[in-house]
């Protein structure tokens, strides 16, 4: 398959870009932050997302979605990255939709997927427990109890956890921390007894939560996929999420770069545009090259995810590792080349730096994925 967007994909990009740049420029995020908005995103805009078919992008046709793939989800994420729009798209439309459509029973799919597609259900994936992303280290315990299970433990960095109507929780039903076997995914109602959600305001003004489970009871129907065998499903869903976040970082990097190059052409010092100085020209050129190479790696990973989810691991690790280092470089150069203005809150560039830091940690940073690749290649 050619590593360029098809005509349909280009049209999707244009329509996503039109909507997002019009309704949710960076000022939108700034406004939500400044007003200490308790939702942290615009429900009205989410409705529009549903009307345009974005919320159900990965939901199969028979459940009311568009039945599109990871390349298309990445296209929307890239546009989200350009304006840093806070949106349930990642947690609900990418992660939850993937988990349900790939791991759900017919009843679970029929119950939840149409609501994801029409925008009426918000969901969140609860994985991380420690400071770093280590899905195999999952300790949150699910013990059999009567017809179902009892869940006890802590989750952190749950994207959109504070607004979710449905939680998808990774728990340990067998084995010990570090084992791939013995993981199980559960569908949990956030209003269940014993469950406490704390919204955690993050550096990037996006949404996350810490969630405590204290003997939360769920019935046997709440299991998503197979008991003890959730590791494979989780890995696939996480890889889709990683590809999506890598796309967001490409959009973010490209936008920061575009703003920075424009500034190099307009800002004058020593009687000329600072973009005339070779020291800055070469750094700008290097950053451009870095972004273009990462863009290709990310598209390659998205295509690999669509072609064969089980074999996409290495390509995804390459993409997420690259996207992390590229975005980090882009925002640092962005702030540096904007000089003192880059340090001011009034200027947007700082928002990109903050979001890039969060995207690095989401589903494994560059170090994590570089190590994954080494393991995948047998050294």
């Amino acid at each position: 398959m050619a590593l360029v967007l098809t005509e349909e994909q280009s049209m999707l990009r244009d329509s996503a870009r039109g909507l997002i740049s019009d309704k949710a420029p960076v000022a939108h995020l700034r406004g939500l932050r400044d007003s200490k908005d308790t939702t942290g995103f615009s429900r009205e805009l989410w409705k529009t997302f549903a009307e345009m078919g974005f919320s159900g992008l990965l939901v199969p046709d028979q459940f009311g979605g568009s039945g599109l793939g990871c390349v298309e989800a990445g296209i929307v994420m890239e546009e989200i990255g350009r304006t840093l729009m806070p949106s349930p798209f990642l947690a609900t439309s990418v992660l939850a939709a993937s988990a349900l459509s790939r791991g759900g029973s017919e009843a679970q799919k029929a119950l939840h997927l149409p609501k994801i597609a029409d925008g009426s259900l918000l969901a969140a994936l609860a994985i991380d427990e420690g400071a770093k992303h280590r899905p195999l280290q999952t300790k949150l315990q699910a013990t059999r109890s009567g017809n179902g299970f009892k869940l006890s433990g802590d989750k952190a960095f749950v994207v959109d956890g504070h607004t979710a109507d449905l939680l998808i929780v990774a728990a340990r039903t067998a084995g010990s921390a570090g084992d791939k076997n013995g993981l199980t995914l559960f569908l949990v109602d956030p209003k269940a007894k014993g469950l406490a959600v704390e919204r955690t305001a993050m550096v990037d003004s996006h949404n996350a939560a810490r969630i405590v489970f204290d003997n939360v009871e769920v019935n046997a129907d709440s299991v998503l996929g197979e008991v003890d065998q959730g590791g494979g499903l989780l890995e696939g869903v996480l890889n889709i999420g990683r590809g999506a976040v890598a796309s967001e970082m490409v959009g973010l990097s490209d936008e920061v770069f575009g703003r920075t190059v424009a500034y190099l052409k307009e800002r004058k010092q020593f009687g000329k545009a600072i973009g005339e100085f070779q020291a800055l020209q070469h750094r700008a050129a290097e950053l451009y090259i870095d972004i273009e190479i990462t863009r290709a790696a990310v598209l390659k990973a998205l295509q690999a995810l669509d072609a064969d989810l089980g074999k996409a691991g290495n390509a995804v690790s390459v993409a997420k590792a690259r996207a992390g280092t590229t975005a980090t470089l882009a925002v640092q150069e962005g702030v540096q080349m904007h000089g003192g203005m880059g340090m001011t809150d009034q200027f947007d560039i700082g928002f990109f730096m903050k979001r890039a830091r969060v995207c690095q940690e989401l589903f494994g940073d560059s170090n994590f994925h570089t190590d994954q690749l080494a393991q995948g290649k047998g050294y």
Binding site: Q281, E292, I293, R295, V318
Partner: protein, 394 residues
């Protein structure tokens, strides 16, 4: 789509049947590369058989038109041939500057007569070409070149000196930049001309490099007589041809950072460094350097694939090959720094049979030229800044 899948299956079967086992092993020495030319010698029977079969199929240059000895394949088909060759680790049957540099320029700017004269001899490996671009005082500032061509009836008389002429001492013909109008602005008085290296007045002198090899020469022209009909493109418009050709050269050099099949670098390193109980390379710092390198290498491979696809879709920027050249060459240097570090003292032997005559350290030193030849990294960044980013004054 179905046609392409059929083509892929046929290609795979043909390669499987026709590529000798020896020609599927990674290359280990210079002799493994077949350059063709009047004095060409095959280093093995397998190399000869492989070359002849590919030549007869038109696949020494699969994407060139059939009438010039190519395979007449379109972009998608040529990509499939490359992919299927890579899948079995098949070596290039013929490597030549005629294929990677002159050919594309002739196809774009040459007369029909020039194409008919030269392209079939390139695809058949009969003539080996060299490139006369750089001069002692014209390196990064190539357009300041001074080799003169003065008209004399139907001929030019050429005088001057070139430097860094790759394999000039083995080449049969040269494609050369000469100044035909010294009064014009420096980019405007240059012509692109072809001539036989056995012409009277041509001499070469190899330059010994830090690798102990002499892949480059100084090349001298002393009243060399060349017919005016050997100019490619218009007289005094040679810079257009030169730039076009440089884009192809840069694409080729950037490809040096790419690997086909073969063992991951981490496993090669484990041969000398060892592995721990979990099979991890027994040097945590080196392991992370290698893994970072492989992340970037895989990303570059995707970018190279995308560059071809973008060109096919008419969406590529003509200066993008400079971006790829920059990244690919810097990456290849990184690869060899890692290989040297992984090899430790074993990688320091210079002459022993054990080290195959110091193959690794010599190759390591050779890579240092990657970011100089064909335009330095700094020149590449300047081109990107100016032509792609449109930065002022660049």
């Amino acid at each position: 789509m179905a046609d392409l899948e059929k083509f892929r299956a046929e290609t795979r079967a043909w390669l499987e049947q026709n590529c000798p086992a020896e020609m599927r092993k990674p290359m280990t020495s210079d002799g493994d590369t077949f350059w063709g030319g009047r004095n060409a010698k095959f280093s093995s029977d397998a190399q000869r058989v492989w070359f002849e079969r590919m030549r007869d199929k038109g696949w020494t240059v699969p994407h060139w038109p059939k009438q010039y000895g190519g395979g007449g394949l379109d972009g998608e088909e040529a990509k499939i041939v490359r992919q299927e060759m890579a899948a079995i680790g098949a070596r290039q049957p013929l490597t030549s500057f005629g294929i990677s540099m002159l050919g594309p320029a002739l196809l774009q700017y040459g007369t029909e007569e020039q194409k008919k004269e030269h392209l079939p001899k390139i695809t058949a490996g009969l003539i080996r070409w060299c490139q006369g671009y750089s001069e002692p005082n014209a390196g990064s500032d190539l357009a300041s070149l001074q080799t003169r061509a003065v008209g004399d009836g139907d001929d030019y008389i050429i005088n001057g000196q070139k430097i860094w002429t790759s394999y000039a001492n083995y080449a049969d013909w040269i494609f050369c930049l000469v100044r035909t109008d010294p009064a014009a602005k420096k980019h405007d008085g240059i012509s692109f001309i072809l001539f036989d290296m056995t012409s009277k007045g041509v001499s070469t002198k190899p330059i010994l490099l830090i690798s102990g090899y002499s892949p480059f020469c100084e090349t001298f022209f002393d009243n060399v007589r060349v017919p005016k009909s050997h100019v490619v493109g218009s007289v005094n418009r040679g810079w257009d041809v030169a730039k076009y050709l440089l884009q192809h050269e840069r694409a080729m050099i950037s490809g040096m950072g790419e690997r086909g099949v073969g063992r991951p670098l981490g496993q090669i390193a484990a041969d000398s460094v060892g592995a721990d109980a979990q099979g991890r390379l027994d040097d945590a710092q080196l392991r992370s350097q290698i893994a970072s390198f492989e992340v970037d290498e895989a990303a570059l491979a995707a970018a190279a694939e995308r560059a071809v696809d973008l060109a096919k879709a008419g969406q590529s920027h003509p200066a993008f090959s400079s971006a790829m050249k920059y990244y690919g060459t810097e990456l290849n240097k990184r690869r060899y720094e890692i290989l040297m570090s992984a090899g430790g003292i074993d990688a320091l032997e210079w002459e022993s049979d054990r080290s195959r005559g110091g193959a690794r350290p010599r190759a390591w030193l050779r890579t240092k030229a990657n970011s100089i030849e064909g335009g330095t990294s700094e020149v590449m960044l300047g081109i990107v800044a100016k032509r792609i980013l449109d930065l002022p004054g660049a």
